[in-house]
Structures are given as structure tokens and as C-alpha cells.
């Protein structure tokens, strides 16, 4: 039998199909082959300020649901957002999203390790159900971010309506998505998650409109530093 090193398995990014194989720079992050740079640093920096779209699908995620999920996470040192449909940052490196009341999406930012810790615990516990995740995930930043989102989402996403720790499950570009507003490096950005199989579609839509509005694709390192 052929031997495989589990750790060496390279995952395909859900968004990869829609991203340029040649003109972008690719790197493996969290075992996922990821487009990390789309243009020169100067151009990306300019885009970021006007309308930057970054693919952060490669961030590690862990999903769990069930009546005892809250307890289970607390026992494992995960900070829990206190109200349904809100989010919190756990130890600066881990985003904890509460989807409804009893489902959670944990996402390690670069350098975080909560997800692998949780994943290593394979004991099945009553009323705690692991939710495998394969999200496409994006960051949208810049002065035109709201303008872009106003075409894709019918909800009021302005600061006065979408409070700092609010999480909404809504439709973006006609498909189900989760949206929050977050401050990254002092700048307000929007984070969007959707089913990974819609990733190429969502990326194409975001980039098409971003380009029209004077922005474009930006590598995730522009937003995340490990």
C-alpha cells in the first residue's frame, strides 16, 4: 500500500477555482493552497483602502452544535458570546461566532490554535455535535465596502444598525451567508462566510463589483499577521 503523510495532504481552497493560477502568488497556509498575493504590495495597499477583498478560507475552523455545545466549549477554555447571533474574540487569535443559540463556529486567525486543540478531542459527548466546516471566507475592507455590500445584501450593515458584536445570517448575492463587522488593525472590515461550494461564485461577484468601484483582490497577509 502506498503511504501518505496525513500532514502533507494539501487541501484545495474552495475559492481556488475562481482565482488566477498564474498571476497570483500561492502559498500553503494551514495545509491549504491559497492565493496570497494578487498584485504588488502598493496596489494591494491602495485597493485595501478603497475596496479590498481577501480570501481567508484557509483559516482553521471548527464547528459544533447541540444543547450542550456551550458547556462543552466553556470546559475547553473557549470564551462564549453571551447572546445568540453575536461573536467574540477569544485570546486575540480566535474568533468565536455564535450562530443562533446553540451552534458555534470557531475560527483561528493566523497563529491561533484553538481549532486544532478542539479537533483533537474526538470523544463524542451527549448533545454535542461536531459540524464539519468547509467555508469560503472573505474580508471586505475600505471606504467603498458598504457601497459594495449594498448591492449584495438588503440589510442595513452600517455601524448604527449592525452593532460591534452582532452576527447576522442573511443572504449575500442571493446565497446564505454569515456577516459580521470587525475592526482589523484599527480599520473596520466586514467578514463574510458562506458554504465553500459557493466560494468561486462569491469571489467572482465580490471581485467584479470591487473592480468597478476601484478596488480588487488583496492577499490575506495584508489583513492578518501571525
Amino acid at each position: 500500500m502506498q503511504q501518505f503523510d496525513v500532514k502533507s495532504i494539501i487541501q484545495t481552497s474552495p475559492v481556488a477555482h475562481a482565482q488566477p493560477r498564474d498571476s497570483a502568488k500561492w502559498e500553503v497556509i494551514n495545509s491549504m493552497d491559497t492565493a496570497v498575493q494578487f498584485a504588488s504590495a502598493a496596489i494591494e495597499d491602495a485597493r485595501k483602502k478603497v475596496l479590498g477583498v481577501a480570501d481567508v478560507s484557509c483559516l482553521a475552523r471548527y464547528g459544533v452544535k447541540g444543547p450542550n455545545a456551550t458547556q462543552w466549549l466553556l470546559e475547553r477554555g473557549i470564551a462564549i458570546p453571551t447572546t445568540p447571533n453575536s461573536w467574540t474574540m477569544c485570546e486575540q487569535k480566535t474568533l468565536v461566532l455564535r450562530l443562533g443559540s446553540s451552534e458555534f463556529l470557531i475560527e483561528d486567525q493566523l497563529g491561533g490554535s484553538a481549532c486544532s486543540r478542539l479537533a483533537s478531542d474526538t470523544n463524542r459527548v451527549a448533545s454535542v455535535y461536531k459540524v464539519p466546516r468547509a467555508d469560503a471566507a472573505f474580508i471586505v475592507s475600505g471606504s467603498e465596502a458598504l457601497n459594495l455590500l449594498s448591492e449584495l445584501c438588503s440589510l442595513d450593515l452600517r455601524e448604527k444598525s449592525l452593532a460591534a458584536k452582532d452576527l447576522i445570517m442573511t443572504q449575500v448575492a442571493g446565497i446564505s451567508a454569515t456577516v459580521i463587522r470587525q475592526t482589523l488593525n484599527g480599520e473596520p472590515v466586514y467578514r463574510i462566510w458562506c458554504d465553500g461550494t459557493y466560494g468561486p461564485y462569491m469571489w467572482e461577484v465580490l471581485i467584479e463589483i470591487a473592480t468597478e468601484l476601484g478596488g480588487g483582490a488583496v492577499g490575506l497577509v495584508q489583513y492578518q499577521s501571525s
Binding site: 455535535y129 449594498s150 465553500g196 461564485y201
Partner: protein, 964 residues
Amino acid sequence: MIFRTPKQVGEWVNRTKKINFTFEGEEFSAFEGDTISSALWAAGQKVLGRSFKYHRARGVLSLANHDVNVLVTDGIDTNIRADVVEVKQGMVLTAVNTSGGVKKDKNSYIDSISPLLPVGFYYKAFHTPRRLFPFWESVIRKAAGLGIVNFDYPRILKRKTHSHCDVLVVGAGPTGLTAACTAAEAGLEVTIVDENRQLGGSLGYNRAGDSSVVTELDSLMSKVASLPNIKVMTGAYAAGYYPDHLIPIVSEAGINKVRAKSVIVASGAFEQPPVFRYNDLPGVMLGSAAQRLLYRYAVKPFNNGIVVTANDYGYRVALDLFQAGTKIVALVDMRPTGSTAYAAALAKRGVKVYTGHCVYEAIASSDKSGVRGAIICAYDEKQSIALTDTKFTLECDGIAMSAGWAPAGALLYQAGTGMQFDYGVEQFVPSRLPNGMFAAGKVNGIFELEQRLRDGVRAANDVIRHLGGQAPQNDVEKHVGISPSHAYPMVPHPKGKNFVDFDEDIQIKDFVNAAKEGFDNIELMKRFTTVGMGPSQGKHSNMNAIRILARIRGLPVEKIGTTTSRPFFHPTPIGHLGGRGFHSHRLTSLHDWHQANGAVFTDIGAWKRAAYYPAAGQSKEDAIQTEALAVRKTAGIIDGSSFGKIEIHGPDAALFLERFFTGVYTDQKVGSCRYVMLLDETGVVVDDGIASRLADDLFYLSIGTSNAAAVYREMQRSQQMWQLNIGLVNVTGAFGAINIAGPAAREILSTLTDLDLSYESFPMSSVRESHVAGVETRMIRVAFVADNGYELHAPMGQIPHLWNALIEAGKKHALRPFGSDTQRLLRLEMGHAMPGVDTDGLTNPFEIGADWAIKMDKPYFIGQRSLTILAKRPLRKQLVPFVLAENYKGEMPMDCNLVVDGRDILGRVTSISYSKYLDRCIGFAYVTPARKEVGSVFQIRADSGALVAATVVKSPFIKTLKGA
């Protein structure tokens, strides 16, 4: 630009920028900011269009998009509304709907035969004899229609955005501006929208010769500019009202869908024409149109004008014209008393006023291109008739008309506002406003400027209180004094051509005659005469139509009511409404691979699936047979990542499945798989799939692609009702799936996993969790496409790695990919009926011979009770496997060809295919129960009508492994 005046205060044209364009082959120049119509009018061009039905010459009527007299084309776009579309450098324009040009339209003969075309004429002729109707129809169709569509017009996708505000103010006249400022000063977030390019509404042009009112506008505008919480949208119209205060604002750039917490409608009123013979000649225009021409575009409407009026507004128009240097030949007031407010001002300027008179008829110039005079008569206001023995003629080159107003109440009506007729202003006004809707200004029956400003404040205060703030309640008194609208500004004429609806060429007598034929209800009248059904949707005609009908029936106007208002306020382009089309689709992580390997894709729900992989020059049929043969002879591999995949966790998981599906699952062994079938409560087959038991309290369900979302949704609903101790996790997108099947499948797989794949330890219908190519995989042995097949389910991101490893390992076994079309053939060979293909919306499980999958002795499952009823009824049809004759070479029947017996339809083919492996045509068909036995022969009628004999056989069609 012979009619251009010296600079007017507040004019919209930029005299420093000259623009050249052509109209009907002639060259014209204009200033930047001119509309097409204003530029042409400035140049003395008066015939700007031809009417829809009679092809009469037409010029400016409202200059406000309340009529469609002037529709032009630039050869690219059509039905351009010249009155309001800015002229651009280099435009090459012609009028639409003419034959041989607007000046010498050959179709203008229709005007002279109009007596042959009474109202509703097309109902009355052309249908006998029947055989000639197609001829007449083509004549009529060609005559109808306005512009010619340009089939090369580019597809333009406009942006559609959403926005939100506390209050949306519709209309930026003095009322709307005041309301917006008041609301904004109270801290509300305000959006104000106006279809004009500039703010101000009538405040910009209704000056009565005194341009000092412009300073009032200036101060309002600077106040608006100083308030950051007012968002101003000009050149944009509120296209309609939709529930919960959703209002699409349409502009050149696209559509902004505003969701407002409240709405103030301050949309003003449309000026309505008085109705007299030849009131449609070029040069006869509404008073407000004359004012717009003058103050917006600095164009003098005419040199020697008559003003005909039935209210005080006409006097204001006369003063404006006078100021511009037009000689006012006369002011003709249909009211016996005239205006007390303005009579002196006109007298001072030496304008002759005829009170109690009307224009009986406008006189066309010799070439009918304009007006050269008017016949004036005394007017009997009580009887609404001209006293023709008093008639005299005045010469003029233009007539301005003012008789009254109709509220621009479309949004109010659409929101469900109750309207009542207010005789103080002779118009409909809101009487019962829906929650969050407010009206102010002319649309609310308030006309005096000072009063309108207060009404704007009042409406804003109402909004502030509505939204929970504090504000005074300051009612504005109703209009007092002379009505701004005349009750019946009509002048009958025995020869007609006194137009009510300019879009549709409808005259007074058309209403009279329609009523005579019984169409004396406003809606029936609209439908029979087509009044208000043209592109301007009755803006200048509905009110007069109601008045005329009321008079005909001897009823007060409010008893007539109005026709229903429907979106859109202005006709709205398809490209705007459609916008950027979002066509969402789902791709598996292998999509790149499929593309690189030449797959042809097919859409299944939102998914794009590889259907087959043709080699260069290979036909679809060949590709499918080649792929299928590989599965039978060596091995094939298919991307099944789009299958629905659902985990059911928890102690009640088996119980849940037993209620949801037809089978039994409580005694299912861990590591084994069972068939599931879902019915609806009427007993109809919805879907099927496989449930694999991974643990006592965990099932893994895989179902077909197209129904997956709906099945999961129904599972969630059932769980809401049943409240069992389970958790549902939809992993459709998180997990991918690969099916590797065929004689070599096991051997290929064995090189990538250390799991014992022997039939004894991994038999048919069982599931194992193991590593394959290093990937944690759920392996399911199912016999859907071949009995030596393995479904490998793994995280979507690792599927390409797994796939590539299998492809690599399969190279020496001639492993080849196959697509979803090939899968259809393979499952047919295996004898599997597919819900949705071999069933339809009424098929019950007995009809497809699925009795074995139904466990009736359970306490409950969805559809069970209906099955007990169906079981007592005779079967109506039965799905049977069949083959065609060996070496059949005739016409190949297709799916859905019928099974017939003479005149009787016995059923239909649901699936049929040639199987190269079997060298036989095989399929499924519905037949009557009498024919269901193995060996019975039935006839399929192929497309051409040929009858093809088929024989019922046993399925599966191919030999399968026993005991594996």
C-alpha cells in the same frame, strides 16, 4: 436658437457650452443642459413627434414626462423621452413611429379617415370572414407600436443597491424640501428624491413674472446642503410603492431600493389640459410647460400667445410669458368671474382678458405644423358648452393652457391610501393614510405656497412623532377660496378632435360612445377606450376621463372613483429592473480537474456537474458508452460531491429515521447501510437514498443532488414537531464524495488503504471509516452503478488529493472518469428506478414496485396512512423493466415516448438507453398492471410514430455478484 431668451435667473442651461446635433436630418445647436425638446423648440422646430393612432403632428405638451408626444430614437435607443432627456453632442435623432419623417409622415392620412375608426373599432371589424383576419392583423400590428427595437442594443446591467433611512421624502418642491429640513433638524436620517435634475419643483418656474421667488428656493437649497443627514437624489424617480415601505428609486445609474421607516409623499400634481378641438396642435401647451421652457431652458414658448385658463394659474403663466417678451394676445378664462387676484396685474400690462370664454377650436397653420389662431366663444359654464354664435377669431402662434391639476398620488394609491374627492380643490386627496405614509403639498390638496411650506413642516412633525420623537401637532387648514382646478374644463365640438388622452388619441366623443355601448364603469371605460393605458399612464388624462364619465352618468365624481394605480410611476427600463443578474452556482472542489479533462457540464439544481468526458471528436453517446464500459470492464470514477449528505446524531436518531422514511432502522447494525425512501403525506414518492449507521447514535445519510436542500429542510421541520433527542448536521457542502466502481475498483482502492476490503469483512451495503490515501474517509459499499463500487466521503478540501491518488493508482487498471449522464445509464443497467426520472409528482411506491421498502407495521411514518388507503385501491400503472428485441436496429424510442395499444395510452417510457455492454436497448416504462408480468410484450410509439415492441424482463439487466 431664435426663441432663446436672455439669461433667466436660475436657468438650467450652460451657455458657455454649445452642443450640435441633428433631428430628422437637420442640424441643430443647443446649450449644455437643454433637453432634446427644449433645444428643438428654441430653434423654432415645433413638430417634434407624431401621435400613436392618428399620426397627428405633436409638439411640447407638458415638458415634464407627463405625456409622450415626443419620442425619438438615436438609432441605438428607442422611445427616448425628448422632453426630459438632455441633448448630447453629436446626437443623430429622428422621431419614432413615422413613415417618411416627422414633418411629412405618410401615415398622417389616418387622421383624415378617423371617422372610420370609432372607439374600439378593432372589435367591430376585420374578423369576418375569418380567413382574412391574419391579413388585417398584420396591417394593424404594423400600425401599432411606437419605436423600433434595436436588436443590437447592448446588454447594460445597471447596479441595484439597497439603502435605509428614517424618512423618504418624494418630491423636492417647496413642500418636500421644507419637510426634509424639518425632519433632518430633528435628527432623522432623510432621503429626498426628485425626478428633476435640480431641486425646487414648481418654485423654480412658477413665478408670475417675479423672479424674486427664486431667492426663497436658494435659501431652502442652502439649508438642505447644510444638513448632513439629508441625502439628496435628483434625476431619480420613486418608481413604485411596495409593502413595508420599499421604494425603488430609479436613476440613470441604476436602482436604489430604499427601505424607509416612513414616507412623505410631496410629489405635487400634474397639470391637466382643458379639452377643446385641436388642443394637441404643436404650439398648444400646458401653462406649466411654457414656464418650464422659459425658466429652465430660457426658451420663449411663442411670440404671440393666447392663454386659455380655467383657474388662476393661467394668469400667473400669462405674467411669466409677458415677462419673457411674449405678446399676450388674450387671456381667455372659462370662468365667468375671472381672477380677482391677478386681473389687475394683467390689466396693468394691457392684456385683454375674456372671462366666461373658451377656446372653441385652435386653428392649425396651413401645413398643420403649428397653430395660427384660435376661435374664441363665450362659454356656458353650467352646461359646459361653447356658445358658437358668439365666436370670433384671434391670431396667435401659441396657446398656453391651464385648467387644473391631478394629484401625483401613485405612491399613495399603491400603498393603499384611502382617497376622497375634495370639492374645495376639485381633486382627490388622501383621507386615510396607511401606517408610516404621509402626504403633503399639492398631492394633499394644499396649493398656496406659504401653506405648502407649513404642510411640509406639519408632515415632518407627524413623521417625527410616528417614529417616537417629540414634535408639535400643527394641522394645516384646508384650501380656501378659488379652486386651483376647474370642475369640468371641456369644450364639446361636433367635429371632435378635442383630445383627452394624447398618448392614445382619445377624444370626448370616444367616452360618450363607449358609455353608449355599456362601458360606463371607469375600469371598463379604461379598457374599452384605452384611456390611461399609454406610456404616460394617464398622468394628463385620467382626471378628465373621470370627469367626463361622471358627467355622462350624472353622478358626482367621487362615485366614479379612480382606476387602480400600479407601478411604475414612469416606465422603467428592463436593464435597470433586471440589473446585474446574480446566477449563483455551486462547484465541487474537483471542478478544475473536470474542466482540465474536457468534461461537459450539466446543471443540477445550483450545481454544475460533469456529465461526461468526450474525447476529441467523440459524440456524447460514444463518450457515455465508453465510460460505462470502463465501469463494467475495468473501473470508473465519478465525482459525487453534490450528493446530499446529512448526519443524524443522538439517541433518537434511528427513531427519527423510522418516522421520516418508510423503512426500519432501529435494528440496523453499526457499519451497515439501508435504503431510505421519503414519501409525502399523500403517499407520493419524493426521494430515496442510503442511511449508513456509523454508531448507535449516528447515521450518515446520502441522498440525490437535486432534492437535498428540500429534504434537509423537511427533516428540520419534522424535528421541530417531533422534538426527538437528535441533532441534524447538513454536511452537503463540507464533504465531497467519490464513487469508484467496477471490477478493478477494489484492487485500486487496496493500494491506498490498509482496510481489509475483502467481501467477507466489507460486504455489500456496509460502511467503514478508514484512511484512504491518508484522508479520513467514510467508505460506503453500495451497488448503485455497479455492485463492486465504493463511495468515498471525505472533507471537500481533501477530495482532489483523494481523487488524484485514485486516478494515479488506477492508471494501470484503465480507470477512467465518468459523468452524471453515464451514471444514469449505469444505474439503469443495475435496475434502479430514480425518483424524479422514473417517478412523477403523483407516483406512489406500489406503482414502482417498491413494496419491499415499505414497513407498514411501524407506528408512523410520513405517508403511511395514505398508503393504507392506496393499498385498497387497484393499481393504475406499474413501472416495469423492459428490453427491445435483440439486435434491434430500428428507430430508437426516447424517454417519454408512449406505451400505446391502439387508441389507448397504457403508459410511457421513463428511461431508455442502448447499453453497449449488454448490446441491448433496455429501459423502464409504465404499463397497465395487466401487462406487468415478465414476458409480456407491449408497444412503444417512437417519435416518428413507428411502433416498437418491448418485452417485460426482470431487473437488474446485468448479472450481479451474489453474496458479495
